[in-house]
Homo-oligomer: 452 residues x 2
């Protein structure tokens, strides 16, 4: 009788794949929420390693931290993939003041933009407020020369997804120094790319165009930006600043990789980035993505999942200022004639996951949406065309037919912390982080089952 | 030519209601995100009024605060609705210690449960750990008499929605003292109904069954609970405690109401609750719901919306310990033969809104789901059968055919703060709060347009 029931149960379960998927994903969530290790792993990465910009001692420690942790889980293969990457240091001097016509002085909260040149001592110039990059491009050298250009563009709060507001302001950070340099400005300060009005300056990468006059660039806090704009309404403002940041020769560093063997040699890659900016602790950006990625593989192993394809978790180096980890990974994959069919990235923080953005064909988006009802039980709802991620992006050049997914995460608070001293472990909620790891594992599982 | 284009535009827009709805909801969100007043209103309620348990001076101040704010917006009608409600005070003495067999002593973080009797001085008893209410019901008087029952049930972390974990533990808080009282225990302490392990005790309502032995009840922090359970594994533990909380005669208080006239006299009601527990600032519970509700009406007025039905925003009193605001409102509505067709509540915090739970028929749920594509643009995804809310609940008794909606909000962090000293303004994010107000206004608008 007992055997008969067992037999019936097997038959029933074989006939209901969807239910099987639901049961398996339920197990993934149970493991993440009851025995999850992502929160403790994130604490360790933030507190035992800390901020870890490419080329720093901390980045080297992070590589060892990742390798050791992945080895501790006994995956089929753990290895380092050597890359060359840029090396920029903030230095020890970083200060700025504004002085108005009455001689009143205010010390600003500033952070050099990543990649900026030094000021070579204390510099000084009249502040010229410019509302955005387009407005800067319309100015003449006569208007700009010798001045310190202040790009005051604020986030457009009307965007529901704050990444759109960030995207709108991105040009002032990425290209402001180049455009102002062409007009022989002395330096650039920008309003931080951040959602709230507060006292934290937010750094981030910038790039000098080839062959132009390189001038220093820094971000000031949004509150300081509001103040500076108010002062400028009253009259002339002078800005003094000093920064001794410096770019050094490229360094050798590593992507850290773990694998679970599958029944074939097609590859599903996922990951986040191991480097961070050199301020705060890189907790949301992208410590969260790192522990999501590691935890996803840990859970699949713990549940004794037998994958169809090779599952590969990658802790990418150098996403923040060069993306040499992602670029190198893709190039090596292609050179080795690897068969990449899918890549998934988590690089939008450790907040509540709400779905996945799909970078793929209409058919691929439809395929993902077939999982919608199943994933709604786990409060994952959003599966629309969108961006996969910076680290996995370069794979698309070599594998145009692959599907890429970016974990969609509640974006409302992300740019309060992003690239600032406020991006620390304490800003991350345990359950939200655990749900991110489970969502990642669930999507890896579904893609492994679905993709041929 | 200009007129022709204008004419074509009108024709086009008349023929595309869905697009009109989308445009109008977009305006709601723009107003909330660019010119929103919910965050400043919440700051004022939390800081200028503070914790506001029914019967307190603060609750009286909150009524005046609400009335004044609603009047400042110039709505068609603002008035108070008198109710009778319970009055319980925590008193000034609240302390507890545990002592083990070695004489080691540890002071606990405790909060009396709302409605508890006093201990009448310092009491002392051996601690008896019981895992949940069902286990307590199985014990005999001999096992329990003279002891202090410690109900140690923890949240089941496997639930995706933390309200389910809360619901699972609710009986130990609501009924623990009654069941232990029947067995002549001296007092009850419970593990706080909270998600994380931390040092905040969480209060909440409890009820004595009629005619039973009333014994005191208190909550200890989850960290203290873990410690107490560990001590009990080592041997006998004595607990000393003192609380001088007291129940006073019922008080007169008020629901605060604002209305916008419609084309007919059918009513759409929405609201949150103005009272809170007497700890923290009632920021998420339910200051957020209060400012969501006020802001929704403000935005609709600002956008010069002409409603089909009467729109009524209600700041309910006494949800926390008696629900006399909700019960009285429903009774008076029925007595006045008002025509209630829809009620919406926000009482799940100021976190990210994700949709609405629908308490209604299959047809009503389908009707709400027809708005799904429209609302997905605003990242509202979840429209499933569920609970409307405690305040609006009693209306269903008189109006069984009405639809009730409860705003579904990211629940992951809510029970970190709920009913504790940690539920303060600083725990609320501006944009998430604003999105809640916009979601509320959008749903009121859609119901007003859809319901006949």
């Amino acid at each position: 009788m007992k055997n008969l029931i067992f037999f019936i149960l097997i038959i029933t379960s074989v006939n209901s794949f969807a239910q099987n998927d639901s049961t398996f994903i339920r197990k993934i969530y149970d493991e993440a929420l009851e025995n999850g290790q992502s929160y403790e792993n994130l604490r360790s990465l933030c507190k035992d390693v800390g901020a870890r910009i490419t080329g720093s001692a901390e980045a080297e420690m992070a590589v060892k931290w990742g390798e050791k942790l992945l080895n501790s889980y006994g995956f089929d293969k753990v290895y380092l993939q050597e890359i060359k990457a840029p090396h920029w240091e903030r230095g020890t001097k970083e200060a700025a003041w504004i002085i108005n016509e009455k001689g009143e002085t205010f010390k600003l909260d500033i952070l050099a933009l990543g990649g900026s040149v030094s000021t070579n001592g204390l510099i000084e110039g009249e502040v010229l407020e410019v509302e955005n990059l387009d407005a800067l491009k319309k100015l003449t050298e006569e208007q700009v020369k010798g001045k310190i250009v202040y790009l005051s563009q604020a986030f457009d709060q009307k965007h529901i997804n704050t990444f759109r507001a960030y995207g709108g302001c991105y040009p002032i950070r990425g290209k402001g120094t180049s455009e102002a340099g062409k007009l022989n400005a002395k330096a650039v300060v920008i309003r931080s790319l951040a959602t709230p009005e507060d006292d934290f300056p937010h750094t981030g990468t910038m790039r000098y165009e080839e062959g132009i006059n390189k001038i220093p660039g820094a971000a000031i806090s949004t509150k300081n930006a509001v103040l500076l704009s108010a002062w400028l309404k009253q009259g002339k403002v002078t800005l003094k600043m000093e920064m001794d940041c410096e770019t050094f020769p490229d360094v050798t560093s590593y992507n850290v990789i773990a694998e679970m063997n599958g029944k074939d040699d097609k590859i599903i890659t996922w990951g986040g980035h191991l480097d961070s900016w050199d301020v705060g602790e890189g907790a949301h950006d992208d410590g969260a993505g790192i522990v999501h990625s590691i935890e996803a593989l840990r859970i699949l192993k713990k549940l004794r999942y037998q994958p169809n394809h090779k599952l590969r978790c990658v802790l990418f180096m150098n996403e923040e200022n060069g993306n040499m980890g992602g670029k190198s990974y893709a190039k090596i994959a292609s050179e080795n004639k690897e068969k990449h069919i899918c890549a998934i990235e988590s690089d939008r923080g450790g907040f509540l996951p709400i779905g996945f953005d799909v970078n793929g064909t209409e058919e691929q988006i439809t395929m993902v949406n077939k999982q919608k009802d199943l994933l709604a039980d786990f409060e994952l709802f959003k599966f629309k065309k969108g961006f996969g991620g910076v680290d996995i992006g370069p794979l698309k050049e070599y594998y145009p037919d692959m599907i890429q997914l970016g974990m969609a995460i509640n974006s409302q608070i992300y740019f309060n912390y992003h690239h600032s001293n406020n991006d620390v472990f304490e800003r991350v909620n345990k359950r939200e982080l655990e749900l991110g790891a489970a969502a990642m594992a669930a999507m890896i599982y579904l893609m492994d089952k679905t993709l041929k």
